[in-house]
Amino acid sequence: MQQIINFLIRSKNFLLFAFLFFISLVFTIQSHSYHKSKFINSANFLSGGVYESLSNIQGYFHLKTYNQQLLDENARLRENESVLRTLVNQKDSLAIYTNAESLFKYIPAKVLKNSYSKTDNIITLKAGRRDSIAPEMGVITSQGIVGFIEKTSTKYSTVLSILNTNFKTNAKLRSSEHYGTLEWNGQNPNVMTVIDMQEQAPVKIGDTIETSGQSAIFPKGIPIGTIENLELDNSKNFYTLSVRLFNDMTSLGHVYVIKNNDLEEINALEENNTNEE
């Protein structure tokens, strides 16, 4: 007994080291699997506050760019609006747009902290539970997709960026309904890959890739990027596409969080299905 206690006292530094190292490894492993909840994240009072004051200062330097982006977006929305108006005003068409409640709600949010140089990037937003933001909501800009909400606190939330090796979503060709899985290999912040695209799909370099609307996180038709390079895999059944993103992920100012009003219903339905199987 005496020897055991002596041993413990002698190697107490090593034991402390091993114990703390184990804790940090647990945190690290948790951060590499998306479904585990994280203890240490930047959606808290201290780091959120520091990033907020930094972003308040930086915001002034980007005002010109943000204004330009807003102008571009307004112009495009006006264009769409006029198209819709003519559709609604045609007497012989079905009134599908007049009584349908909007399925998706867009919540604007400011980016406090963006990261893109690591392999698992997380973005911090100044909008949290009190702005009715919840995990698993999609995040986009006017140019394309950004990621989805991972953790929320009262005032802040963190986004699992598309530049994260844990990120996966369905993506399809704009010209047809063929779809594949969009993911990131952890290196170039401007290029992502789409895997498992059917070999029959009519893919060409320069085609546009957009969201498929299958996941209930992103609505259908949000632009992602253009095909830069394509190759068939070894079995010659699937294409692997490199996609150049429309969105400049290295410069994000304001984003929209997408709230799907039917999400609960869809989730409940899918859960029922899996229970019955």
Binding site: L16, F17, S24, I40, V50
Partner: protein, 168 residues
């Protein structure tokens, strides 16, 4: 003693803030962000209690992880260099070194360079291995360690020389 606590607390806050507000946003060549906050662990008093030192290094890393959303990679890397610092000290300042006799401001430039860069590279190797967490990307890890390590070493050396008051 009280003075030392105050000096180290101020140093801690300044380095963490500088890291978070300035150095995390550099993104030189797209992916190189230096980590000079680790200077805090390098210049922590050599005669401090070993267990306390390990714990403080762990907390420093955890603070960085909180700002960086990176799980526990900084905590692990800081802990490793805190644990292996005596070995680096012995290698740099010779077998006959005594903890209390060495004052970092008084050592030669060459010794300072070896001491700082050796621990910087160990820190970065652990950090990036845990960040990438994929052994098949070993070349990428080594490349990132090398380039970032050079950048961090230069910054740490500069800060160390600028802010150390030389007492003859």
């Amino acid at each position: 003693m009280k003075n030392s606590v105050l000096v180290n607390s101020v140093r801690f806050i300044c380095l963490i803030l500088a890291q978070v507000l300035i150095f995390n946003n550099i993104d030189f060549m797209g992916y190189i962000n230096p980590y000079p906050y680790m200077l805090f662990i390098l210049v922590f008093p050599f005669n401090a209690n070993r267990s306390l030192y390990l714990f403080i290094a762990f907390l420093t890393g955890l603070t960085m992880d909180m700002f960086d959303n990176s799980g526990g990679i900084h905590a692990a890397a800081c802990l490793v260099i805190a644990y292996f610092r005596p070995i680096a000290l012995r290698l740099t300042f010779g077998v006959s070194y005594e903890y209390n006799a060495i004052k970092l401001p008084n050592v030669s430039f060459y010794e300072r360079l070896v001491y700082i860069s050796s621990l910087v590279f160990v820190h970065h190797l652990v950090l990036f291995s845990l960040e990438v967490f994929n052994i098949s990307n070993i070349i990428y890890i080594l490349k990132k360690t090398l380039f970032t390590g050079i950048f961090t070493s230069i910054l740490c050396l500069m800060f160390n020389i600028l802010f150390s008051s030389r007492r003859e």
